[in-house]
């Protein structure tokens, strides 16, 4: 047997963004895969130690481009703990609505990345059209399309618009229509089913052991969701189910994401009905950061996103406005290392299947490198 080593990425169209893989091949079959990260390292954690806590929020959003609001949310939860505040009721709903829209935008972008490699170009366009509706909604609420800086320690940055309910429901109707078409035209399409069924299988016990979270874990049949487990923000006050798969293959993971889009739409619909009409949107926090420690864990579109912040007054040079240390942990590292290696070692994955397997794990390379 003659082994061949091939680099895939970071510029390869089949690579999921700014990472590379070193594939060890025997003919078409992949025997081993090694992740080569580092192309997107920006040193955020270090930069944040030298900036005020409110500036750090603006930086945090840039850690995961596809799903910035969940990074902001986990940062904000950690900061809320350090300041010892509980956000106002209206802000809790606002955060939930924004976070669910972020999940929708992220899943739609995933859909675009995923449909391309399985040659369903039409589905890519539909996904981008639906995402465009979501991005316009973000511009209307938060003033920006991609990086919103809207979720803020102590609440949300400014009040929600007056016509939120009507406008949000209209946007959701349009997005839901497009998602239904995608379901019929892509997810239930026999060609896609044949392409993704029984590819990249991950058993429930392995998923737990290898540190998988989010739709990858739920695709394997484990109904674990931090939104349900911790009931943070307004998640305790809305009704929703946790979609899960059965076989843990690429198709199940894709279907979990599809059903999560409907779940997100349902959560937002309930939240805009329940949100209090009046009331404060944010508590004013002191500029100086009190000493303390905070951990924010949220269910991002890709899985568990955690932020750990330590603040101390004994910092050398005495910097009372800046945190001592910030550590982020995103879900992607586990998915592209342990989980991907496990799949490749235990199954006959060919080069043509590789984008399907990687795509079904929905990696966000910036959250590996930061």
């Amino acid at each position: 047997m003659r082994k061949l080593q091939v680099f895939l990425g970071p510029q390869h169209p089949g690579a999921p963004g700014n990472v590379a893989f070193l594939l060890t091949l025997d003919g078409e079959r992949i025997l081993d895969v090694d992740l080569i990260p580092g192309f997107l390292h920006r040193g955020f954690e270090k930069m944040m130690e030298y900036r005020r806590w409110d500036m750090d929020l603006v930086m945090s959003a840039r850690i995961c481009v596809e799903d910035p609001d969940h990074v902001e949310l986990s940062y904000t939860h950690a900061m809320d703990q350090i300041f010892g505040v509980d956000p106002p009721e209206r802000a809790k709903y606002a955060r939930t609505i924004v976070a669910e829209f972020s999940r929708l935008a992220s899943h739609l972008l995933w859909m675009m990345h995923f449909a391309g490699p399985v040659a369903a170009r039409y589905a890519t366009s539909w996904a981008i059209a639906a995402r465009e509706e979501v991005l316009k909604w973000f511009d209307y609420v938060a003033g920006h399309r991609i990086y919103h800086h809207y979720i803020y320690p102590g609440g949300v940055r400014w009040n929600l618009p007056k016509d939120l309910k009507e406008r949000t429901l209209q946007v959701l109707d349009r997005v839901e229509g497009l998602v239904r078409d995608m379901e019929r035209g892509f997810f239930l399409h026999p060609v896609f089913q044949r392409r993704a069924r029984d590819v990249g299988r991950l058993k429930a016990s392995d998923a737990v052991r290898l540190g998988a979270t989010g739709p990858v874990l739920r695709g394997s049949g484990v109904a674990h969701d931090i939104r349900k487990a911790l009931k943070y923000d307004a998640y305790g006050m809305v009704d929703f189910e946790i979609p899960k798969g059965e076989y843990g293959d690429a198709y199940d993971r894709a279907m979990v994401r599809l059903r999560e889009m409907y779940v997100s739409i349902g959560i937002i619909r309930q939240a805009v009905q329940q949100i209090p009409e009046e009331g404060p949107y944010r508590w004013r926090l002191p500029m100086a950061l009190p000493p303390g420690e905070g951990v924010g864990r949220v269910e991002s579109a890709r899985g568990e996103f955690m932020t750990h912040i330590v603040s101390t007054t004994e910092k050398p040079g005495g910097r009372p406005l800046e945190p001592y240390r910030i550590k982020f942990r995103g879900p992607t590292m586990a998915h592209l290392t342990t989980v991907l290696k496990h799949i490749v070692h235990n199954e006959e994955i060919t080069v043509a299947d590789f984008p399907v397997v990687v795509g079904s794990l929905d990696p966000c390379p910036p959250d590996i490198d930061r």
């Binding site: 703990q81 509980d86 920006h144």
Partner: protein, 156 residues
């Protein structure tokens, strides 16, 4: 199944395209809250540098502008380097006199081939953008201003 899919495809064929024909037919999409190019009211600025200290991207530099500025003893005003600015709006929030605001004149209009033109001096920021625009982000958006949290504490 095949016929159904063909029907679905045809429906999309007849729809209006989602893409905006920017910049030839349509302007970029903006809303009442879009944060983009700043506008500086030089007569309001007191030269306190709060905007410079609030900027996470170190995009703001203070420039000395000679002239009669009764409110601004130091005669220093902010200038923004748009190759660094992230349009976060923290400078607008920090400004105590509402001298700095943002318009919806988006970065699409600011695209340039010449790197040296990304630097906007205070005089350039004080000049309203040439094209159609509205003032979108002012401190009015933060009304009513946030109050301190009720005493009692609790986890976030």
């Amino acid at each position: 199944m095949v016929l159904k899919l063909l029907g679905l495809g045809f429906r999309y064929l007849l729809r209006r395209p989602y893409t905006r024909l920017y910049p030839y037919k349509e302007p970029p999409f903006t809303t009442e809250r879009t944060r983009a190019r700043h506008l500086l009211y030089m007569d309001r600025c007191i030269g306190c540098r709060a905007c410079q200290l609030a900027c996470p991207a170190d995009a703001i530099k203070m420039y000395k502008i000679e002239g009669e500025w009764p409110k601004n003893r130091l005669k220093i005003f902010p200038g923004v380097d748009y190759s660094r600015c992230t349009y976060c709006g923290l400078c607008v929030e920090a400004c105590p006199t509402s001298a700095l605001v943002m318009t919806d004149y988006t970065m699409e209009h600011l695209i340039t081939e010449d790197k040296s033109t990304t630097l906007y001096t205070p005089e350039m920021l004080a000049e309203p953008p040439k094209g159609e625009h509205r003032v979108t982000f002012t401190k009015d958006l933060l009304k009513p201003p946030p109050q301190p949290p009720p005493k009692k504490g609790g986890g976030g």
